[in-house]
């Protein structure tokens, strides 16, 4: 398991709050048995609707092609628990998400696939999105050990639950290995849980 401490790359700003996982990946693209190919469908409906209106969604904008740091508003990833949403963002190229806040299942799904979600205040998000919009080639540098985001002359202090931050820094973000180590304890506990054992006292 590898540590994830520094992530540097160009940013892609996505304005708006309460962006749900149905919008990140519409349900019709969930008709599949693998996560392959989901990257091209990220924000499919928003992209085509904006295109029809003569506008460009950031994910369709060639200026942001190759970006790896997604910058979003509050309650990002709310709604359906579909891991297809973080998977599609990751496959599009997203390696970290900076937002005002995240829905919890989405946040945890991102931990499980090694994509840290970091928080900044609404004002800082607005500044960072503005910086990237002005200079799409700008390099955004995340340092999870230092707890900072640096872009041009700006330095932001990130907020992140300490446990989640440590998981990335120490390389413990994929919990499966640890969970498996305790399989013996799990079997012992299973034999003690009343509803699995005919409620015998």
């Amino acid at each position: 398991m590898s540590s994830i401490i520094k992530i540097a790359g160009r940013g892609v700003p996505l304005r708006g709050n309460d962006i749900d996982t149905d919008r990140i990946i519409p349900a019709r693209f969930l008709r599949c048995v693998t996560f392959d190919g989901l990257g091209e469908h990220a924000f499919a409906d928003d992209r085509s609707q904006l295109k029809a209106a003569g506008q460009l969604h950031p994910f369709s904008n060639p200026e942001y092609a190759g970006a790896s740091v997604l910058v979003v508003g509050s309650n990002f990833g709310c709604g359906s628990s579909r891991e297809h949403a973080p998977q599609s963002l990751q496959k599009w190229g997203v390696r970290a998400i900076i937002g005002e806040s995240f829905a919890e299942i989405f946040f945890n799904n991102n931990i499980a696939i090694g994509v840290p979600c970091l928080s900044l205040s609404a004002a800082d998000i607005d500044s960072l999105q503005g910086l990237i919009e002005d200079k799409p080639m700008l390099e955004v540098e995340i340092d999870l050990a230092a707890g900072s985001v640096i872009a041009a002359d700006f330095s932001f202090k990130i907020k992140m639950p300490e446990a989640a931050r440590q998981m990335f820094v120490r390389g413990q973000w994929d919990a499966t290995g640890q969970l498996l180590t305790n399989l013996g304890k799990v079997r012992t506990r299973a034999a003690q849980i009343p509803y699995l054992n005919k409620f015998t006292p």
Partner: protein, 475 residues
Amino acid sequence: MSRGTLFDKVWKLHSIDQLEGGQTQLFIGLHLIHEVTSPQAFAMLRELDLKVAFPGNTLATVDHIVPTEDQTRPFADSLAEEMLQALEENTAASGIQLYNVGSGKQGVVHIIAPELGLTQPGMTVACGDSHTATHGAFGAVSFGIGTSQVRDVLATQTLAMDPLKVRRVEVNGALSSGVFAKDVILHIIRHLGVKGGAGYAYEFAGTCIDAMTMEERMTICNMAIEGGARCGYINPDQTTFDYLRGREFAPQGDIWQQAEDWWRNIASDSDADYDDLVIFDAAEISPTLTWGITPGQALGLDETLPAIENYAVDEQDLIRQAYDYMDLKPGQSMLGLPIDVVFIGSCTNGRLSDLREVAKICELHGGKVPTQIKTVVVPGSEAVKAAAEAEGLDQIFIKHGFDWRNAGCSMCLAMNPDKLVGRQICASTSNRNFKGRQGSPAGRTLLMSPAMAALTALEGKISDVRPLLHKEVQS
């Protein structure tokens, strides 16, 4: 910090270890899987050369992609067929019970587990589906999870979880005639917000919740996730025990009394401490529906649509977007708004009592759905369908012009052939009104109770059930 709540007790009982990252390894008593979020998890297991550790604690069904009209195999949609075949192969190879189409036990996963008596008080439940919150109605602690976590549960029967705070959400008093459990939960979300529950488990309580049936309680807990809570639950009581008694997987015979004693003890103590308390007055809740693009954008039928300036500055963009997408205007009333489609079903409102309510409205109204309105009535499970037909509800629906279908998730998220077209506007008993949720990228959804949806279908426009129910009381 909370202390002595059902959540605290269940968490402690199921805690296996503190992980290095700081999370708790939590044992999962009941794991439910379906065809959308499990195939990749089984593939990950194969890649890691792992086996399912506790196949007897996982149950599978197929619900999201099931066609509700022609269910002949192979399904007309080859992708849907491929997903069901993957589920059939994965469950057969792992020794997991699958309730398939035609088994008599298939249905929306959150409907079948309770009706089979699988969901019980004091359990931990997990499923790769956010509406797993539903099972909290029984006093279970239930989590919607992603596919990597489904892999973890399959491999170890445990999850790495962060602890939660507990907010007690009390609703006290009696509901007025024409106000239902759906109105209560829409009202709660409207007032606490779609992210108000972040970091919390919601304990729904109070005299109004105590007086509810199990099916009503499931409607409440189902939408805890729409309020941003990680899970929602209601303490088990006599109503819970009466519902469970005699169900296939409920404790039988001599064990029953031991089970009931344990269930009573797992409920929150009368002197439990909570991290937060919010109190609602049931009498203040009116028939409620959503008008916008998040479940929190709701209003009572007696109100008019809010001015944009009424919202906090940072919310105003989203409100403008909602008005634009829905083609509605501040100051407008929702009453009388013409609709195109009515969907009755889903894990929120696809149970027998919901269908009875629809049938009752049909009979009180006496009319027929106008021909230009498309309706889809989808029972939550094969068992709900059989029970509804045994009561003759299907005949009432058909007589009044409703389209009666087979069990599945259907138009709640439109992964099957049931979809909105273009900018159609749908009165829906489901749980999400996100942009594009019902299958058309421009489709519009209004969430409401089954009674309001039924009358709206019959009238072809948003309608108030209260005068109709009032007339019934007088006659």
